[in-house]
């Protein structure tokens, strides 16, 4: 896995408030969700990746460079769509996107063509010569996205890109972000406070809470790691539980009919097979309880 962002012990304080309290994280290629409640430190981390602030402690590496010393070089390869409305209303969408592409180092002629392409990609091809101020919130979000990607960045930072969108627009935006991460081959860091958004489009997740990383990894790892086995025997629940405990497993009795087991998958399934054979107990149900991102999030943040 290529590492796009590597943070080691990153601390950032704003006056008396500690926004990031020593973050260790590695963000690879693909779409990564930066998940956390408002005030968890997401935007601060994005700001540090962009080299807009200097961390108080620790090191940060973005695309192999240090953003505090090589800010312009790093930012030339990044695209950033901020959370809040950040567009001049009286400028035409195409003029704006083209201008931002030029600012990021594209020659004028390339910038014109790529601005059109980017606006077509976000679905504003027909509207590209309209002043941004006359556009809907959803269209403005897409203009921001177009201006962040027109220069073909290596990494796209999207801060709450679905803010203010209705369900249909949100759906379209998430589909587009997924396409950018897969088809377009641009790595994306998607900052969001919405679990289902991250779950839908991201390959991996970095969960922040109160300025610390509470969990990180690929979506599969996180879900699997938090999962448990549910066993429902056709009777004699307590006997089975005792037998499994003798095998050295952590067993929890759920109600009067079910058991919950945590641990290594193969070990658990082997133990269940052996215990059932020993005791002559039949199984009604053996199921992996898949954790949702919500479980991971709640377990991690301790809410």
């Amino acid at each position: 896995m290529t590492t796009i962002v590597r943070a080691t012990g990153v601390v950032k304080r704003w006056g008396d408030t500690t926004a990031l309290a020593g973050i260790d994280a590695e963000i690879g290629a693909g779409v990564t969700g930066l998940l956390g409640a408002n005030g968890a430190g997401k935007t601060t981390l994005l700001g540090l990746i962009l080299g807009l602030h200097r961390q108080d402690d620790g090191t940060l590496e973005v695309l192999g460079l240090d953003p505090t010393t090589a800010g312009p070089e790093v930012r030339a390869r990044l695209g950033y769509a901020p959370e809040h409305d950040a567009l001049p209303g009286d400028v035409r969408a195409h003029d704006l996107v083209r201008h931002m592409a030029e600012i990021h180092g594209l020659p004028s002629k390339e910038a014109v063509g790529r601005a059109s392409d980017a606006l077509w990609h976000v679905g504003l091809g027909e509207e590209r010569f309209r002043p941004v101020g006359t556009m809907s919130t959803g269209q403005k979000q897409r203009v921001k996205l177009a201006s962040a990607m027109a220069h073909d960045p290596a990494l796209l930072l999207l801060d709450e890109p679905t803010n203010g969108l209705d369900p249909m627009q949100r759906d379209a935006m998430l589909t587009l972000i997924r396409r950018i991460g897969t088809e377009f081959g641009i790595s994306v860091i998607l900052s969001s406070h919405l679990l289902e958004e991250v779950e839908r489009v991201c390959d991996s997740v970095l969960i922040l809470s109160g300025g610390t990383v509470v969990s990180s990894g690929t979506l599969d790892e996180l879900r699997g790691g938090g999962g448990a086995f549910i066993v429902e025997p056709d009777g004699r629940v307590d006997e089975l539980a005792a037998a499994l405990q003798r095998h050295g497993l952590e067993v929890e009795v759920l109600g009067t009919t079910r058991l919950s087991l945590n641990g290594d998958e193969i070990e658990i399934t082997d133990a269940i097979r052996d215990a059932c054979a020993e005791l002559g107990i039949g199984l009604r149900r053996l199921q992996r309880r898949t954790a949702t991102l919500e479980d991971v999030f709640l377990a991690g943040t301790g809410v």
């Binding site: 704003w14 926004a19 935007t43 601060t44 994005l46 700001g47 962009l50 807009l52 602030h53 800010g71 312009p72 070089e73 930012r75 030339a76 990044l78 950033y80 901020p82 809040h84 409305d85 950040a86 567009l87 001049p88 209303g89 009286d90 400028v91 035409r92 003029d95 201008h99 931002m100 030029e102 600012i103 990021h104 180092g105 594209l106 020659p107 390339e110 790529r114 392409d117 077509w120 990609h121 201006s147 220069h151 073909d152 930072l157 801060d159 088809e183 377009f184 081959g185």
Partner: protein, 289 residues
């Protein structure tokens, strides 16, 4: 494969050259010049800049006309045509208006609408961003501080009322360039300083006009009524650059008691002071947390 299918081919990555920060600065400067002049924007955004430019050039056109139509002996006698240095006196209002409008338009809007955050997320830094803004405002102001003089010079030369020798012509040209640069630089600094203090364009514009008019009124009152040393005029922002322009053209100006060196020092102090204020304001600014 035909070009018509380009969008079905999906995303095109870019492997071409990426220009450095100087290209970013140039692009921002050009974009800001357009904004300042209202180009590619609505009619109302264009109105004030265009009207101001017209006001600045009309006297030059009229003077060239007078020079063309009326014999030299008569114009000299009634003093109909101002000297190149005095021309600034004819278009003070236009310059004042332009200074008050352009600086705030170029600097305040980005903070108000959030574009500053987008720019600082690009290869630009706070310093290179401000450099681009200076490179935008100075040439826009040259439109009213240098353009009319050039028109006057070329126009009068064409109707045979200009400098008599080529050397004189070049001398006037160089002096006009220097004068235009001095006035533009001072007023760029002042208007950007005012614009750095507020994100409301109207407040910044009012601030610039007040600073220019009040500094004149207050310093005059202090000299006339409170017997202050005339050097206090160095604080008069409406007077200072125009007086230095007189010296550039080799004339005495309206306050001969002030040395040219003191004028140069005062101009430098105003420019550096304003630059320091703008830099301090922007370094302090937190863009996104």
């Amino acid at each position: 494969m035909s070009e018509a299918h380009i969008y079905e081919q999906g995303y095109r990555s870019y492997d071409g050259p990426r220009l450095g920060v100087s290209a970013s600065v140039r692009s921002l400067a050009i974009h800001s010049i357009r904004r300042g002049l209202g180009l590619r924007r609505t009619f109302w955004a264009k109105l004030l800049p265009i009207a101001t430019v017209v006001i600045a050039y009309v006297p030059a056109i009229v003077f060239v006309g007078i020079a063309a139509l009326i014999p030299d002996e008569i114009t000299d006698e009634i003093d109909a045509i101002p000297s190149y240095a005095d021309y600034f006196g004819n278009i003070t209002a236009a310059i004042l208006l332009f200074v008050a409008v352009v600086g705030p338009e170029v600097l305040c809007s980005d903070r108000r609408n959030g574009m500053l955050g987008m720019y600082l997320a690009s290869p630009l830094t706070r310093e290179t961003y401000l450099l681009a803004k200076v490179l935008a405002v100075v040439p826009v102001l040259l439109l009213v501080t240098l353009g009319p003089q050039l028109l006057l010079l070329v126009g009068r030369s064409l109707v045979d009322a200009g400098p008599e020798t080529a050397t004189d012509f070049v001398l006037v040209l160089v002096r006009s360039l220097a004068a235009g640069l001095v006035v533009s630089t001072v007023y760029t600094a002042i208007s950007l300083a005012a614009a750095s203090l507020t994100e409301r364009r109207a407040f910044a514009s009012a601030g610039v006009i007040l600073a220019l008019l009040l500094s004149g009124a207050v310093t005059s009152a202090l000299v006339e009524n409170a017997d202050f040393d005339r050097r206090i005029y160095l604080l008069n922002l409406g007077f200072l650059p125009i007086e230095l322009v007189q010296r550039i053209y080799g004339e005495l100006g309206s306050e001969p008691s002030l040395t040219t060196a003191s004028l140069v020092a005062a101009v430098a102090a105003w420019v550096l002071g304003s630059a320091a204020l703008v830099l301090w304001r922007y370094r302090k600014l937190t863009v996104s947390r």
